[in-house]
Symmetry: C2
Subunit: 201 residues, 2 copies
Amino acid sequence: MSFIPLQPDLPLGSPHERSDAARNRERLLSAARELVDEFGAEALTMDALACKAKVGKGTVFRRFGSRAGLMMTLLSDAESDFQRAFMFGPPPLGPGASPADRLTAFGEGRIYFVLENGELLKAAGAATRNRFDVPATKLSHRHMEVLLREAGIADPWVMAMSLTYALDPERIVDDVRVRGISPKRLTDSWRDVVARLMRTT
Amino acid sequence: MSFIPLQPDLPLGSPHERSDAARNRERLLSAARELVDEFGAEALTMDALACKAKVGKGTVFRRFGSRAGLMMTLLSDAESDFQRAFMFGPPPLGPGASPADRLTAFGEGRIYFVLENGELLKAAGAATRNRFDVPATKLSHRHMEVLLREAGIADPWVMAMSLTYALDPERIVDDVRVRGISPKRLTDSWRDVVARLMRTT
DNA sequence: ATACTAAACGGACCACGGTCCGCTTTCTAT
DNA sequence: ATAGAAAGCGGACCGTGGTCCGTTTAGTAT
């Protein structure tokens, strides 16, 4: 169960889901996962998905709203895990450590999370009007905002936004895969940024 | 004249530009500017542009390569000015001030520049494979990298990338226009970030 | 003037995301 | 069992960015 709606799976809170709808949802999800596994998320087209799932195109869009919605749905399990970890898990990611340590751990975790789910995340972020629409991004922003406020930053909302964009999936994935930066350099630099932003001297 | 190719206007370095080509380029540029003035950059479609310029669609793409290329061409004058200012202009933007002051001034300048040319910049950034492909973005990254290195940052390349994304046009424009953040809050926060990143104590 | 060539042209064509709406299926009330 | 309503379905259709290739045209060499 997820504490924040991580995916906009529109007709899901409905009282009773019709049996054919449920069947089609399963068909679509497993077809989507197969296509992503085989060809990668970027190569997935909504037509191909509809075709492979033996379902009309309208059904795909009724279910997921958009390509971005589909990607979010595909991501939601992994996102929920990460979310749980930084909200309720053990320190330093979860509560109990200092804001600086938690923020460091958060960024590192996010970087590795992005590197594991990069294609999906990029696809989810693209094609949504502003990338901030992705619910998980909003939550991540809020989390950083709280940590920054605890650390006495003057405008935690705006600074959290700066950091959100610094952790953008597109940025991270392209740094590593296109520009050849090692994940370690990314996390080291993140650690440095947080240390410098938050030191109180 | 620009010191770095700010726009990928493909067939321009050619020895002799054919007269019809020159005429069509003028027609396209003025048509594009009219359309942007009247309806905004986001609303500009390549078909409409071709139609308004009385030119075939193929010609539009031969000239600019892509929608992003067109936007960059439209931007190139303004970009050149800004570029000149931070490379050769008076301090604190240009050389002569401390790295921290120059970086502060650079970010502030960039924020206002983005707010003036936001639509064009967003349009130029979207639809290019990675947003880092925009030549002006590369240059801006390089500039920040140099400043950060002078200030003794451990991995200036990566940190400059973080700051590049924090100054992303999409981010800035949406913060101001969608999320209602005042430009002043943006520049104040930028100033705070740079001060904290660069203080040597 | 003429013939030749390479550049430039134009618009039919394609792929993809997304919408629309008439038809079908499932569920519920009787 | 039957009928009615609502949820769901499917695929034709649209707009947009981008490609392709047969045709036209500006420049050049004679």
